[in-house]
Subunit: 595 residues, 2 copies
């Protein structure tokens, strides 16, 4: 029963009628949100991406043919309505932009009908995500999801315009590239022309953007699709988008400067939020010491304090052993939480186990000054006073301590700090706190592989003053690397790159790549480095995460039109799927189980 | 011997010094184009993406340390120079934007040295493309390639801004999707989670953009990476970029209108070329009849004329047989070419063979009115006069005729027309002639598969008035499809889509897809069509081709930063390549030859 829209032109989107004069004729098109007959008058809420508009069908006004058609309207019918724009005769609806208006219909076409949808289209749907993802085309009609994707679109436009204004060229890099086993797992693409050979999908355009600098493009950017074949977490997708950039003839400050102006513009233009510049900077060492994290959430305090010296002579075995093994004892002060029930404390002890903490020591300073603690009995009076002083503890406060290697202590207290803040309601989503974390270690030791790995990637430049230690004490070398952190989430990161062939070769060596392997994998980069390389640096943002934080969503699936689920499948299309044998034959591939 | 740029800031790009005051100190960075010592003065041409700037090192001015360093400079060294901006003391160089200026150096740092490059960096390089592609990072330093990529960047920015201003949302669609065997060959991506299952890389975002319309996004666009695993031609790449859009609640005119405004803006803002609107429109039938092509080049005339009626009773077997078989006889008039040498004519006869023409009849009307012709002896005087009249032939003209099925005649004369124009130098690259071709046939008969195939794709809407013939005479049904043609190249195309479930089901039926197969392949689309689908339409441009025409390049490889060659390999990185066995094992794949 679909009618054509031949000869009909939409005059406004639903919410745009607020710009039309009263009493003018308008033609609107959209979906029936609801349709009800109240005393012989049909009230129809029409929805499009701009909002909802009330349509009134009265038989006197629209004639019986239109009225009878209107009687048949059901939710999600797609219709076109012509009528007169009027002030509402009934009560205004303040929750709608068009809440003072209504259209008194004179014409109606049913563009297409709808079966009853498997779930109602409404904000903050309570329908199970699995069902909504199967019918993603319906779920995407939800006004909240539509708003998210509109914000995403605006973020993309604003970013591109800002970067173009600042001398960046948008250059596309290939996505059928050479596989590089360093890093995460690649998605592979079999070649038909060369059976047995494969392309990889890029984990990032890293090498290509560096080559563009070698080629003299000076400033590059791209909103680049990237791929990682990893097991998915809540904030990961097999394909994701990076705001990717690279600049020549710059040092750390230049990159940070242009990027904080970009962030300021984005938050102003898209959210009307003011970001004060300069954005705070903190070295990695300070971030770990004060917040136990390389992505500190600055929306609240509860900083870590190192109390190792206070308990240096303690008889408490946990502290003693940790210190003896070269570790530390640190604490945080959960102000005013002395009354925390035992059950909650136990849950926190459980919580920190996933950070490899063997335990969590606590000390409640009750209102009357009494101490309730898991370990006070092992401490001297002086030590207890020392801890209280070091932790700036007042009656009513609750102290938590961890003792272990620095890494475990940081991870434990860093996570505990955020968990407590979350429980205490301190994490306001519309309070945006940015932070640059700088001077990351160049290398980190991999226990699994018994070798140093690059903390960022093998192309990151060392700090000039530290390079002298690359042989004697590699772990001491800091990198010209930086992350941009928003509310405890790393939304982007980058570095100055190595631009000297000899330094790059040394890095590969330190990372355990033989000359032959380095040449085989990155030969073209090493070749390029022979022909005049400019100093260069770059940064990449996870666009999905940035938008997620901007729209205050809990999952990146809420800012991606067609996301995949944990097993990397698409519930709507059923991808991945079996393919025709002929396709595999052309690729020279056999599926193992079917051998 | 790389020096750091610590403490040094670039003040201008090379060509940007034209904006700096004379006698001011500038700091520029770039690559040495050439360096020569002329009578104790060093003239160094410094190059960056903006252009070339002359640097003068005189020992008196820069001191001996800098001067000695400058003596060592070779081509492609990457350097930073500080100095005073002056009017040139020597002759001006009018070919350079900075040709009246020079920088008299006071400081120099060598940021990195360069080996002698395998070829000289210069415009219109004569170096073999294979070598240039192996060293693409050097080839990309060529000013002409840099200009191409800068135009491409501007095209992208301008397109996006125009579309955003016109209510389009930029929405990203997935690239790990379900394989669809209809159409070209898919690139496949093996799934690790489900060994034996595969994703496909999209040939276009077609279904997703239609679903976005179903979801109410109203106007969508994306500069989308697309993939086709086909054997490559000069203007094809395994991965390419589409300017992709879709609109709801529109008909053909709305799509054409917004797109010709987009083209107008693009050519104005990027090339300063005025495109007059409206762009000419022509039905497919008219295009074939007049130009023998569905993408007519309008830069010149030489239109086809149907002379079937003139030779209806001819005794000439070639004409007679073609007409008897239901074909036609048509000709073109190569004005003023009566003197074409026999050798050239023979070459044209050879040329048209690849269009399945069995021959090419010609008739030269010499200056004195005499006829020189391959077939005049078979014609009556009246027929010859009739042909001359029909072809509007004057003394000095050369007529070519083809007789065969309509398709062969069109293809032959359509190609011949362009070939002649090319030989006659009529194809000026900076003369931009746009054309809309409309009302394409919905279906075309596939001799190979002995069935109808969709001429555009299976989602194209038929013209309302023709749908009645879908059973009785499917070939007669025209589609609401349109192509945008520029100078004989199709740069984009699209259609109004089917938005009624029953029509879509019928189309699958006509195309020989059983209900089961249609459900298996496009089930989610058919599902979506149950829930209120808006009338919608779209269009996609081949961005690479658009840019190629705009920069007057001969190959799309000249507008892509890192292109692939005919066998779909990348000569710089050697992709595709073998991968580790462990990677294949995880995917559950075996390479056939290694079984």
């Amino acid at each position: 029963m679909a009618e054509s829209m031949l000869g009909l032109k939409r005059s406004h989107r639903c919410a745009e009628v607020v710009n039309a004069p009263l009493e003018s004729e308008v033609t609107v098109m959209g979906w029936v949100q609801k349709n009800r007959n109240k005393g012989g008058i049909i009230f129809c809420d029409l929805r499009d991406r701009s909002g909802i508009l009330q349509i009134i069908f009265e038989e006197d006004e629209c004639g019986s043919e239109v009225f009878n058609k209107a009687m048949k309207l059901k939710q999600e019918f797609c219709i076109a309505v012509t009528g007169l724009l009027k002030k509402r005769s009934g009560a205004f609806n303040e929750s709608l932009e068009t809440g003072e208006l209504e259209v008194r219909a004179t014409g109606l076409r049913i563009l297409s009908e709808s079966e009853t949808p498997p779930f109602h289209i409404e904000e903050d749907s309570k329908t199970k995500e699995e069902l909504r993802l199967k019918y993603r085309f319906l779920d995407l009609r939800r006004p909240d999801l539509q708003r998210n994707l509109m914000v995403r679109s605006k973020v993309a436009t604003t970013t591109r315009n800002f970067l173009a204004e600042n001398g960046f060229l948008e250059i596309e890099t290939p996505t059928l590239i050479k596989s590089s086993p360093e890093g995460a797992r690649d998605y592979l693409v079999p070649s038909r022309v060369y059976p047995g050979s494969f392309y990889a999908l890029p984990q990032s355009p890293q090498l290509f953007k560096q080559l563009l600098m070698v080629s003299g493009y000076d400033r590059y950017f791209q909103l680049a699709r990237c791929y990682r074949d990893e097991d998915l977490r809540a904030d990961r997708q097999p394909e994701f988008t990076q705001i990717d950039m690279e600049l020549s003839f710059v040092d750390v400050d230049d990159v940070l400067d242009v990027n904080e102006r970009l962030l300021q513009r984005l938050f102003k233009d898209v959210l009307n939020v003011d970001v004060k510049l300069p954005i705070q900077r903190m070295t990695w060492q300070e971030a770990m010491d004060r917040f136990g994290s390389d992505k500190p959430d600055l929306r609240f305090g509860m900083e870590l304090k190192d109390v190792s010296s206070v308990v240096a002579n303690s008889e408490f075995a946990v502290f003693k052993n940790a210190l003896a093994a070269g570790g530390s004892v640190r604490g945080i002060n959960a102000t005013g939480q002395a009354g925390m029930p035992r059950k909650k404390i136990d849950a926190l002890v459980e919580f920190v186990k996933s950070y490899r903490a063997k335990g969590l020591a606590y000390m409640a300073i009750e209102a009357d000054g009494n101490i309730k603690s898991s370990f006070a009995k092992f401490m001297t009076e002086a030590e207890i006073e020392g801890l209280k002083a070091a932790m700036d503890a007042k009656p009513g406060d609750m102290l938590f301590f961890a003792a272990d290697t620095n890494k475990v202590v940081w991870d434990t207290l860093g996570a505990l700090r955020v968990e407590l803040a979350s429980q205490l309601g301190l994490l306001k989503k519309d309070d945006y706190r940015f932070l640059w974390v700088t001077e990351f270690p160049l290398l980190e030791w991999s226990e699994e592989e018994n070798r140093f790995k690059a903390m960022h990637h093998p192309f990151t430049a060392p700090m000039d003053e530290d390079w002298q230690y690359i042989d004697s004490d590699p772990g001491r070398v800091r990198a010209k690397a930086y992350d941009i952190v928003l509310n405890g989430t790393e939304i982007g990161g980058g570095s100055v790159r190595i631009h000297q062939g000899d330094v790059q070769a040394k890095m590969f060596d330190v990372l355990g790549l033989s000359k032959e392997v380095a040449q085989e994998r990155f030969g073209y980069l090493l070749d390029a480095f022979k022909y005049g390389v400019p100093p260069h640096a770059g940064l990449a943002y996870g666009l999905d995460r940035v938008v997620m934080l901007m729209v205050e969503a809990d999952s990146i699936r809420d800012v991606i039109a067609f996301p995949k689920v944990k097993d990397a499948s698409d519930l709507m299309t059923n991808a991945p799927d079996r393919v025709d044998d002929a396709q595999l034959k052309e690729l020279g591939l056999i599926i193992k189980s079917e051998q």
